[in-house]
Assembly symmetry: C2
Homo-oligomer: 290 residues x 2
């Protein structure tokens, strides 16, 4: 089946890379807005009888959810054989529980909205906490990829004396895997709460930081609070440098500058969410799954 990659202005870089890897056509979807704020999607390429791969990074997701549904439905209407969603950053997954009375479990509803429009969903390191798999909420074929190997390889290539640090206990297992790939030592920041205002951060294993290149790794860099706390603590041990690596760099509320100010020498992310820190390209990883 002939393939075609469709994407939107925001996510076009990854879309173009993916099309190159798949050796297929790339086409940008046009979004027009009417004076009454209704939007109109327009496909600019022939999709008939093709496998259509829609690439959209679902960060700041509300508008994008409609965009991908409208695009998929139009593609099907125009004769596409199959429509696949590539959402390297999958939104709304942290809302996996009713934390307070009356609250929506948004992850479920969003999955219900999106599922009927696609036959397959491919994503990278989704924030699965209470759900064991995406299949619990998404009613379509799902494929979860991980950037661990790419991150491990990136560290191996660019650092000579690295030590991997998970910024909190939740990230430990993940940091461990990356450390193994990078062939580096690993530790984790352990928070101990003394009162509502006093939190002490400790490093779990007794490993040497002094003179090493510290690499703090996490899946999502959002407000970066966790990473900033980790940086503050790790600095005391006098590492040669501090690098922050995140799979998904959302950099909410000026997080990028806050991280730099706190002492991050370098911040690296994958291109799951477009940002100047994107150094690790996911298109090769994703292309193998299509």
């Amino acid at each position: 089946m002939k393939k075609i990659v469709l994407s939107f202005s925001y996510s076009q870089k990854l879309g173009r890379n993916l099309a190159k890897k798949l050796n297929c056509k790339f086409s940008m979807v046009k979004i027009k807005e009417f004076p009454d704020k209704e939007k109109l999607i327009q496909l600019n390429a022939d999709v008939k009888n093709k496998q259509v791969i829609i690439v959209d990074s679902l960060y700041i997701p509300d508008e994008k959810i409609l965009d991908i549904c409208l695009t998929a439905d139009t593609a099907k209407d125009l004769g596409a054989k199959q429509v696949i969603l590539v959402a390297p950053y999958l939104c709304y997954l942290r809302q996996d529980k009713r934390f307070h009375t009356g609250e929506s479990i948004s992850s479920k509803t969003i999955a219900k909205i999106v599922s009927p429009f696609f036959s397959k969903l491919i994503t990278v390191d989704p924030h699965l906490h209470r759900y064991k798999s995406l299949g619990i909420i998404y009613r379509l074929k799902t494929k979860v990829l991980t950037a661990n190997y790419l991150i491990g390889e990136y560290i191996k290539k660019h650092y000579t004396n690295p030590v991997i640090i998970g910024p909190d206990e939740e990230s430990y297992q993940w940091a461990e895997v990356i450390a193994k790939i990078a062939g580096a030592e690993v530790t984790v920041c352990k928070k101990t709460r003394f009162s509502s205002r006093k939190v002490k951060v400790l490093l779990k294993n007794n490993i040497t930081i002094k003179g090493k290149e510290v690499i703090i790794v996490d899946d999502i860099i959002s407000t970066a609070h966790t990473m900033i706390e980790a940086i503050k603590h790790v600095k005391k041990y006098k590492p040669v440098s501090i690098t922050c690596i995140g799979v998904h760099g959302l950099f909410v509320e000026n997080a990028y500058n806050k991280l730099k100010k706190a002492g991050a020498d370098l911040i690296v992310t994958t291109n799951s969410v477009p940002h100047t820190t994107n150094k690790i390209d996911l298109s090769g990883l994703i292309s193998k799954e299509i």
Copy 2:
């Protein structure tokens, strides 16, 4: 079955009126936004075993479409017996055809997104042009109400010597019905295009305008271009006053001020879309359908 009306800050006035008419509880849905722009819906009332009526005017619709789906899904999850959508202004209906190659027929996709979350949809004077009924695109029970009677009664009550004018030929049938209810004469502006730049407007029937209260009626006042053209033409006949009445007042791109400037003495709308011109309350009409 016990009823409860849920609404959002934007549409709360109509929601509260409807709850009063139904003699049931009203509750405002809380919408919280996280730093990463994901939203969280919270219901503040018990919906278990109840008939839940969600009222939202779907003007500037994209965010609201997710709001109503999230709210409906949460209500069901919390034990609601039935969830009804009251969308007095129903969005995306003008996109009922692929006007250019590759374009989405958005009305269909939006209907597909919304339908699974509700058991019934109630709306007022939807802009049905190429669809004969809403049931063609919405897969749920639909009820189309009309504000014609309310508008006719409003005219009867507030004017002594009115003449009803449809601003273009499309609106004639509709103007005729209202005129009949109001017991007034009716005419319509007929456009004749002489070149791409020259359009002449004529009144269809030979009725007296001079000394009369002109009432121009249309279903949607969006940019108001059509109404403004009608005003300009009608003014020549020296009516006593000019009133513009629309079911749905969107007032896009400063349309309200443009209408006033063109010569509208009064602009009246129903409360299908919240606006200072709202003079005709739809809650009674809608309540009879629940």
